[in-house]
């Protein structure tokens, strides 16, 4: 069993949808051959089709403890990679800058479309990456034992030597966060930037985020922001908890600002988006989380200090990231380790 678990908390109230994280990850890890269509980190507009298209509706994960694999999304579902005709535009003139071929779907196809409620448009951004699950469906599905969860930090990796490209993991992951590299014949996914963490550097997607919305550390380290947000203040939740994989990427649900013109009312009394939609994404607990966050907000508005909001502002990196030295990972004593939700 693994001793520690890295986790990430993303405060959705702070996400600008700028895709800087997406590009940080792309440039660093998926710039190689056969990887053009893959975004280990993507930011999608919610409500919306997501990336790959309808990933949240096609299945995967566990049901009554049993794997419930889905179909593998098609190339069209991920969206086609394309380039613009910059060269023609710049050196031949007279043409508009256009994709070099007709485009029918892309990872960010319905950006900022959202939906309507009471005649008002609403949406928010959902950055997504592999959840480095405590009970990874991808790992359970692989007949070659090519997927493993690192004992020292809970990071889930695919052994590229053992992988034969069977893609059972892609069917099993309920978050559809495994990609197939056609040229190599291998499955690939977010590595939680383990080579950076091992040097004491935070994940690239977190480091580059101008919204400063990502918190990274060990979930079992009582001093970490992620531990506090998830286990102490209880304001961050995993996506689709009913899928049974126990994700370790958590989200502070969007609860602010309130709908135009409802000043003073609770978001639960006069929501700017259907609460059902948040329940769909984060489970029933989301209502309590919003209540807790609103209480903190009220407290702060009344002039009292709110530790939670202070932490969520997370201006400085030392507040957001607690990356232990690799050597010390094994030195955190058992007494200091809070039991993981499922150790």
């Amino acid at each position: 069993m693994f001793q520690h678990q890295y986790a990430m908390v993303l405060d959705l109230n702070k996400c600008l949808g700028c895709q800087t994280c997406t590009m940080a990850c792309k440039k660093l890890w998926t710039d190689g051959d056969g990887m053009d269509y893959m975004y280990w980190n993507n930011v999608e507009t919610r409500p919306g089709q997501g990336y790959p298209r309808k990933w949240d509706q096609i299945g995967g994960g566990f049901e009554n403890g049993k794997l419930r694999p889905s179909e593998i999304p098609s190339r069209e579902d991920y969206g086609q990679p394309f380039q613009y005709n910059y060269e023609e535009r710049m050196f031949q003139g007279g043409l508009q800058v256009m994709p070099h071929e007709p485009v029918e779907n892309t990872p960010n196809w319905d950006e900022d479309v959202g939906a309507l409620m009471l005649g008002e448009n609403y949406y928010f951004y959902l950055p997504r990456l592999c959840n480095h699950c405590t009970n990874p469906a991808c790992l359970a599905a692989c007949p070659r034992n090519a997927i493993y969860k690192r004992e020292e930090d809970g990071i889930v990796l695919i052994d590229q030597e053992r992988c034969e490209g069977y893609r059972y993991c892609m069917r099993a992951c309920p978050y559809k966060k495994i990609y197939f590299n056609e040229l190599l014949g291998k499955a690939q996914k977010c590595i939680f930037c383990y080579p950076r963490l091992e040097k004491g550097e935070v994940n690239a997607c977190a480091r580059q985020c101008p919204g400063r919305l990502r918190f990274v550390g060990l979930l079992d380290d009582p001093g970490s922001a992620v531990h506090k947000l998830v286990h102490v203040y209880k304001v961050a939740l995993g996506l689709f908890p009913e899928k049974g994989t126990e994700p370790n990427v958590f989200y502070v649900p969007p609860f602010n600002p309130p709908r135009r013109g409802n000043y003073g009312k609770s978001i639960l009394d006069d929501p700017r988006m259907p609460l059902d939609y948040l329940v769909y994404l984060f489970g029933e607990q989301v209502t309590d989380v919003i209540r807790r966050l609103e209480a903190e907000l009220k407290k702060a508005q009344d002039g009292a200090p709110s530790e939670v909001l202070q932490l969520l502002i997370g201006r400085d990196e030392e507040v957001r990231y607690q990356i232990p030295k690799r050597e010390s990972l094994v030195q955190i004593t058992n007494a200091q380790i809070q039991p993981l939700r499922r150790a």
């Binding site: 049993k66 419930r68 694999p69 999304p73 190339r75 007949p143 070659r144 197939f180 056609e182």
Partner: protein
């Protein structure tokens, strides 16, 4: 291959024969998956001793040629011949599920994209590439695959089992067609 060489000394070679082997589907891996249709009911196996080798020709009907496997949901057609890695005593054959701990197997695998590879296994999920390859050729015409595999000379009576993967049915790994053991003449 080392094991085969050992017991060749005491045996006579497999002789020429042509036989149609019925194919079966492995059951679905997940209870939520529907059983796959039996689109390829049989494979023709042609065995010829040629210059100290056994040339095995496989021929089967396949309505689509899947050799490119566009990502991420495409899979390629493939075939394999599985042999016991060691001498077979009596009628105790290795398990059809990639042999077992006491009866390891050698698999001569050919996929339409990556070509030939020799694999070893001693039970389900133990299959591994040896890094060795062998001479093989494949051709698709008239909705049929014809694949010729050059194996080391097989002694008469060697049990062999054939596996066929149909890319169009998303076959790969244990999701495939297989024949029962057939003993060479």
């Amino acid at each position: 291959m080392r094991h085969i060489a050992l017991f060749l000394i005491f045996a006579s070679w497999a002789t020429a024969e042509t036989v149609d082997l019925p194919l079966y589907r492995t059951p679905p891996l997940y209870s939520t998956d529907r059983p796959a249709a039996l689109e390829i009911p049989s494979v023709r196996l042609d065995i010829q001793p040629v210059d100290g080798k056994t040339v095995v020709k496989l021929e089967w009907l396949d309505r689509s040629r899947d050799a490119e496997a566009p990502a991420p949901d495409g899979f390629v057609d493939a075939c394999a011949v599985m042999l016991p890695a060691g001498p077979v005593t009596g009628d105790v054959f290795p398990s059809l599920q990639m042999g077992d701990a006491d009866h390891p197997v050698i698999i001569y695998y050919y996929d339409m994209k990556r070509g030939a590879a020799v694999m070893e296994a001693s039970g389900r999920a133990t299959t591994r590439r040896t890094g060795k390859t062998f001479t093989a050729q494949a051709a698709y015409a008239g909705q049929k695959w014809q694949v010729t595999l050059e194996l080391p000379a097989l002694p008469a009576g060697t049990p062999l089992s054939v596996a066929i993967w149909n890319g169009a049915q998303q076959d790969r790994d244990g999701r495939k067609y297989f024949s029962l053991w057939h003993r060479t003449r």
